[in-house]
Symmetry: C2
Subunit: 118 residues, 2 copies
Amino acid sequence: MKNLEKIFKALGQATRLKMVFLLSEQELCVCELEHILQVSQSAISQHMRILKAADLVNEERRGQWVFYSLNKQVLSEQLQDFLKLLDMGLKAEGRMAEELERLQYLQENPIVECRIQN
Amino acid sequence: MKNLEKIFKALGQATRLKMVFLLSEQELCVCELEHILQVSQSAISQHMRILKAADLVNEERRGQWVFYSLNKQVLSEQLQDFLKLLDMGLKAEGRMAEELERLQYLQENPIVECRIQN
DNA sequence: TTATTAATTAAGCATATGCTAATATGCCCT
DNA sequence: AGGGCATATTAGCATATGCTTAATTAATAA
């Protein structure tokens, strides 16, 4: 889930989401993205670091230029898996053990009226 | 895309992502979420406002309690559509007209050496 | 080697975010 | 009406984020 969070966080920002759409068309180098998105080359680098950390893009240096391409495979798989996870029940999501426990406790011992009255 | 951004932003935060997983199991009221997630009731309310704004959850008042449920349909559709959009090319994403224009300009007038040399 | 260009990293700043405590609102029951 | 919960909203604060400019690092070419 830490992984999913990273992915969603990466996608949940206007500039980066645009980058993903742009890279879905074709690979682009930093200077091109800079020109298209109208932000500093430094900003591009920083966003790319985040997208890379989420494994959403690949980086390839070609001479002095660094070209980025979209990892469409990973993106697609992760989102599909997320949807599947949602259908499989909480036990499938290991990183929520604590919360699952508390949920189960509530199921057995309804904390308050909210469950009793209905 | 504004929409997608809102959705990804909503999902890209640990507490809210947990909420989504929890609600995928069953609907829950604020006081239950408070207990499960161990944050203040105010925090729950605020997060729910964001999830609601992204249309990811539905809210139903039952007496003094408000129950939230996951809008799995919407979530699933939006993510699928996003993946489809990525395959359809930029023209499909209307909100990127400006960037598309600049991309096309670059395609015709390679800005610098990066395209000429390779 | 030095100069030039591209990209990354660091520093700094303004704004956004996530949370809590305090207050207000809404719903139910006397 | 008035008291008692559950939830929402507000205010305030500490931290995170997105950006810029400045300083480094990397690669190429003279």
